[in-house]
Symmetry: C2
Subunit: 515 residues, 2 copies
Amino acid sequence: MTSLQNYVGGRWLAGSGDPKTLHEPATEAVLGDVRPGGIDFVAMLEHARKVGGPALRALTFPQRAERLKALAAKLHDHRDELIEIAAKNGGNTRGDAKFDLDGASGTLAYYAGLGAAMPAGFHLPDGEGIQLTRSPRFHGQHVWTSRPGVAVHINAFNFPAWGMGEKMACALLAGVPVIEKAGTASALLAHRLAQIVVESGLLPEGSFQFVAGSVSGALDLLGPMDAVAFTGSAATGALIRGNKNLIARNVRVNIEADSINPAVLGPDVESGSDTFEQFLANLTIDMTQKAGQKCTAVRRILVPTARLAEVQEELIERLRAVKLGNPLDNDVRMGPVASAEQLRDVRQGMERLQAVASTLLGGTAAVQAKGYFVAPTLLLAKDAEAPVLHELEVFGPCATLVPYDGSAARAVGLCNRGGGGLVASVYSDDREFVESTVLGIAPWHGRIWLGSEKTMNQATSPGAVLPATIHGGPGRAGGGEELGGLRGLAPYMQRTAIQGDRAVVGRTFGNESAG
Amino acid sequence: MTSLQNYVGGRWLAGSGDPKTLHEPATEAVLGDVRPGGIDFVAMLEHARKVGGPALRALTFPQRAERLKALAAKLHDHRDELIEIAAKNGGNTRGDAKFDLDGASGTLAYYAGLGAAMPAGFHLPDGEGIQLTRSPRFHGQHVWTSRPGVAVHINAFNFPAWGMGEKMACALLAGVPVIEKAGTASALLAHRLAQIVVESGLLPEGSFQFVAGSVSGALDLLGPMDAVAFTGSAATGALIRGNKNLIARNVRVNIEADSINPAVLGPDVESGSDTFEQFLANLTIDMTQKAGQKCTAVRRILVPTARLAEVQEELIERLRAVKLGNPLDNDVRMGPVASAEQLRDVRQGMERLQAVASTLLGGTAAVQAKGYFVAPTLLLAKDAEAPVLHELEVFGPCATLVPYDGSAARAVGLCNRGGGGLVASVYSDDREFVESTVLGIAPWHGRIWLGSEKTMNQATSPGAVLPATIHGGPGRAGGGEELGGLRGLAPYMQRTAIQGDRAVVGRTFGNESAG
């Protein structure tokens, strides 16, 4: 049995303390364990700050980008091996595993592309130069520089590859060494990824360290130049944000947490139309991909009351067609949830929703004797106003139909009851409905995906996070922001206004040529 | 005797509870009082959210900008009256008062100018549109929309007009109603400003409310769309950031706190040069303007060891020439600090510095029998490494000379010991020294001011905060960011990525014309 190791200070070291056993979610077979202790965080942070950071920041942006590009290729080389681990360790179907792994290499490659076009230097101008007073001599320029700190990334179990990849890509391109903590349930895949990264020799020593167990001991040691990025539950997010040391030293904290993502069917969308087809197809993907364990998955489906019967029937038919089973079987389309703990949480959550919603499909009953399987579950709200519908994220293949009157105002009100979300999707070809809905829900959502006739076969699904657009959301969703092209580097850099003689400021720090 | 009132829910209401007496700092005469209680915060927030916010957001950006422009003019109309109050209530000389008041009207006018050029609508595109996949149909656009919340602004006593003006300008242009809390010591001026704002009728009812006493009861009632901006001590900043409700609900918090701002004299700067003249003149201004009560004032003066004697002599001569006294006297150039509490804090801080520095000028001795006067005080570090030099902000007319070896590396090391600052100034005409120093200190500072021959008579002093460039700093300085043109609206708006058909996204939410 494997006990996963940590990569600390340039060496692979065993953990210590009470082991947490990792199971194969499809069979409950034991795969290995993770031990929380055994890490000297003072030394680990020192290694990042004194060895990794300086080496990384000795590279220009385009040089860092080259490393990311090679790393993306390296991950791709190991794709088949990793897909197998993802199936065994994460309960991922082949499609689920690719979504995660290609997300990781795609995001690394995307940032490699961005970095290749960045200045061959160590700072990045932010915006244009500004004349500061009546005199054209006194000139201002904002610049971004790399913070000489460490990025501690606390990843979620659901996207062991993509989650780590997207956080790493941004921090490393920004010039900040990373400590990647694996989500426990999928730590086996994360561990193999870390091995590949380390063995590649592509990243300067000290710029990448890996923790399979716990990093909570590191949080008390961080300072003003460091950053913490966390993806996971709102409750744990609040604990991190409330950490006394992080508060006292103004350590940057970026959190992605719960999100009760809504999908809205516009009143104009006709049966059989391309827009309607996308609505049904995307819902089916979102509910079953990764067994619904996506922070961007739809949880609330807003449907005009008059269309409820039709949507219900169509969705049930599609969800019934999704074959559930061991992800190692090629014809299986949905695997189990990741762990016994997740299974328990999902069932408890469903029960709470069932108190205010009727069960149209699926439910909490066991699907088979072994494994952490949950049937695709479609609920129908008895009362659209019931708080639990809008406040509880059930992290599994479960969504609730919420009838509404077809007005943009009502859709906006219900969507925003989520208290802040990562993504809302709106399906409509009525420009007015779209504009009213979007402007009404935008302040409460980090991303809005619009389905219309023209997006048929042209768009990724709303659940997919693309590196060119931001990922994050206000309120319950954590208040964080990641990705979004160069915006994704901001958490790891400092913005500084430089003021002075135009000849000095413009040419040395801005975009003006030394003509 | 005046007991200051609060403007809440459309009415002026008396405070209640234990009064805090306001004194004239030059004479210790009693001017009035502030009472902390008597405000129904639930109703106050409701008024902002239900009445003020919707009315403000019914105006387009340029319409909001018009109100700001008129407000700037209105403040200017009352300038003479306000200067007199600032002298009496704040101990401000005429110059100090103008710096504060013109800062307020100037910043309002600046944002009015920005707003006039913004889209005549309700959202603001962020960056260019992005092709998201291989298909040019699937298009992304980031937009900023107004958060339907409240901005609670906790202002510092040292800039009652400018502090309130700059925070208001950004929030109101962003479409968010404000609750302005006055810094207690200068609440009389803030109160008069609030009266002028209210009487002007320029702002929609509910978009401006005013608290003379305490807003701490409001913090427990804020939600995900609200924002808190605080300017003041690092200790109070940490208390606000640690507020359980603000953490649990991911309320945005923007803090400007302590800053041990450094000024660096480059080794190349010759006696009598324009660069040297600016160095001396700016230090004299910074140390004595507002009796040193500026968050951007220089606290550490880094001087090459070989130049120490000369700088010492020149500075002492200039500081001696600054006439101290009652700011109502026209020839007085420096008034008292704002309150008995400030006087005590400044003296205690000076004593702590004096333990590691020798006193070249001034000190803690009483200047005259009545009033909160402090003599301009110049210290010389005995040990450049002493922690207190780099960690303690003495909020008065006091700075410490810190000798260094003239190398950029040493200057960078000492500057960054401040643990995060608002502004650093660097005086040099040596391009290499400037570049090395700037890139070394940028991650630790929100703003860097460069003095060189060409800036003579062309630049504002480093202590002046300009609306076009950001104000804020990492670490000890609070980790916040204000102003900086449109960047200053970000704390009050939500950034959302919109994805969909290019024809819909680009034309409705982006910059593409509906051609």
